[in-house]
Symmetry: C2
Subunit: 410 residues, 2 copies
């Protein structure tokens, strides 16, 4: 199944908005086994979308259009689809009634313009949108099925996940026997070579999928084979476990399962670990408190770091990372704590402590320890990778595993 994603909107072409829809949909479609062959972004001028639709519907099985379903004159997705399909737009009383119903009790006033949203190209199938007022629809153009979804992020996500993906899943080979395992801190090429070898040794064909998401790697494999025991042996805590949970959700789930709570003291990651953990619904049952003790005085006053340790080793050091984790644990009463202190750049690096160097501290029932990594890239990347590494350390600690497994192994 060949899929083309089309995003519509002048705001995308003006760079006001980063298109995260395309990446989300691509990643989900890739996991289903569909092949995304192009992303295209077009503006709002008349005829722009219709031209792209005619071209892409000639080669794709499915085209996913995002945006342009609002009530204003700039919202042309309905008429552009009709133009590309060579059909008229029809007004649907029943859809209009649903729109009127949705506006009842809403603070936003329904206007005449909203009637536009009850028009569909002839032959289209309306799709209810419980997340917003603009109905979505699907429509055959040539041999392709075109889905048109609103661009509002939560509406798009809802309709993609609840409507489009389940429909497409039915048209793709069954992958319900697929199992997923997650890894962190293993180079993709190393992991790939190891899986090929492991499958070969088990007499299985190498038909696995590897997918990298923000520093985590997912391996997908169909059938009964359990990769976990061999992966744990080869990679230790760098194999995060089975299932497609992302790291923050995995930390929250594992902590809930153990009945324990966590705390964070993050200096160079500046709140990213905490914001990723609290992004997970239900995290309030797990996270007690997080600190961003950016100034040395805050490290000392709030987390009990010894001023002499800072004077002797510097704020970016093993003793300070350990003291931060210990402080967070003791102050919050949590069972586990993780800390970061490092040089995110763009300035502040030295020969001895270059930009990208981060010390991680972990505290828990088994004591306190620290580990160091030098992460590549600019400030943004160092902070983001650093937060992922810290979450992996925290997960290992919750499981009673070595939080710093990167010194050994393949």
């Amino acid at each position: 199944m060949k899929v083309v994603l089309i995003s519509v909107g002048d705001e995308l072409l003006a760079g006001r908005v980063v298109d995260t829809h395309a990446a989300l949909a691509s990643s989900e479609l890739h996991a289903l086994g569909a092949q995304v062959v192009a992303h295209v972004t077009v503006g709002d001028p008349e005829g722009a979308l219709a031209e792209v639709l005619r071209r892409e519907c000639a080669r794709a099985d499915v085209v996913l259009v995002t945006g342009g379903l609002g009530p204003t004159e700039d919202d042309r997705t309905r008429s552009e689809c009709a133009q590309a399909a060579g059909v008229p737009l029809d007004f649907h009383e029943s859809w209009w009634a649903k729109i009127v119903e949705r506006y009842r009790g809403s603070p936003v006033k329904l206007s005449e313009r909203n009637q536009r949203q009850a028009f569909f190209p002839r032959g289209a199938q309306g799709i209810e949108n419980p997340w917003g007022t603009a109905p979505a629809f699907s429509l055959p153009i040539g041999a392709a099925t075109v889905y048109c979804l609103p661009g509002v992020p939560h509406e798009f996500r809802g309709l993609l996940t609840e409507v489009v993906l389940p429909e497409l899943r039915g048209r793709l080979p069954d992958r319900s026997d697929e199992r997923v395992w997650a890894f962190h801190g293993v180079p993709e090429s190393t992991l790939d070579a190891w899986i090929v070898e492991t499958l070969e040794a088990a007499g299985l064909p190498p038909d696995h999928h590897i997918c990298v998401k923000e520093g985590e790697i997912e391996v997908r494999l169909r059938g009964d084979f359990d990769l976990l025991p061999a992966a744990r042996e080869a990679f230790g805590a760098r194999c995060l476990g089975e299932g497609d949970l992302r790291l923050p959700a995995r930390v929250i789930a594992e902590a809930r399962r153990s009945g324990g709570t966590v705390a964070v003291a993050e200096s160079c990651t500046g709140g990213i670990i905490s914001s990723r953990l609290t992004d997970v619904p239900g995290s309030s049952a797990v996270l007690r408190c997080a600190w961003v003790p950016y100034a040395n005085e805050a490290k000392i006053a709030e987390l009990g770091v010894d001023a002499r340790e800072i004077a002797e080793h510097g704020a970016v050091s093993a003793p300070v990372a350990e003291a931060l984790a210990r402080g967070a644990l003791e102050r919050s009463g949590a069972r586990w704590a993780v800390s970061t202190t490092g040089i995110a750049g763009p300035t502040g690096g030295s020969l001895e402590k270059p930009i990208g160097l981060i010390w991680f501290g972990v505290a828990g029932p088994e004591g306190v320890c620290a580990g160091v990594r030098r992460l590549p890239g600019d400030r943004n990347r160092v902070r983001s990778y650093g937060s992922t590494q810290a979450l992996a350390c925290l997960l290992a600690a919750i499981r009673g595993e070595d939080p710093f497994p990167w010194a050994e192994g393949p």
Copy 2:
């Protein structure tokens, strides 16, 4: 000047990576006055890029290609450009010598494959890349100028900013007389109507640009006219000021200018305010400490919130928002502090305190106060908008303005 952006890479189509290059380039090009007419993402298969190049070079003046300049066989941008232009690839001894020179002393070993990077389509102009090993190049295809840049983020950013934009600026009408003002908390349509009216009253044509970025609105206008006095009168602190600084950078700059420091106590925003502030280089001189007191016990123990206030009013209330801000101020010794406490969802809402309700607290030399907003959308959006609102409150406090101006005004 019509511009098309093409991103190359299977990793984009698989959704492993979000394409932020397109938004960055679009926003910069838009600010220069160029018109970006499409973004296209293609994969690595042979012929894919050449086909798109032929099509887009027929209508664009400038095409910017990102990615596919590495040394592997998948890196086909050089040969695809040659194919689209109908020219052969030539090996350049002088560029090879530069590549060899760059690898000297690098931990990465130069291999024979790297010779690929010294081939350019005939007629291309090599562009030195001081940020990495892959040279970039430009090439005429039809009437269009094609620029090929590496996909590695900091290499792309460097070459875009230092080479491509200055070249294009020379081909575009001068916009150095453009002025920018930033707003927050004003509906785009309200702002637009107000600007049209204001310009009309001043006898000026309405040739302004409005651009929305993560809840902030930028207004661009050419010439001498100063929008600030009228904007301040109409919108108070909701007019953030002149210049194209984003809110976190504006907070850091304004605090530095005043010689004061800031602190944050964020519950429902869970670390986002802090991570956005610390994303700004130089923020370590301004942010003393941030807390994410997620558990009520942490609010009480770490920030001195009175347990009886929580029992009486709930954690999401004006007294608790004020106590959090006051606590952050006193504990950190900062001059200003901001706090959030709210219901981010997806559960926890009630009739009285629905999902999206956030109390904001501000503390500073002029005392402590609180304000409330109900923000639309899902957990993600509530948290993100909440962090933007809190930053706007903090900025107003630093300036000695009303941090909660949304009760009045147009």
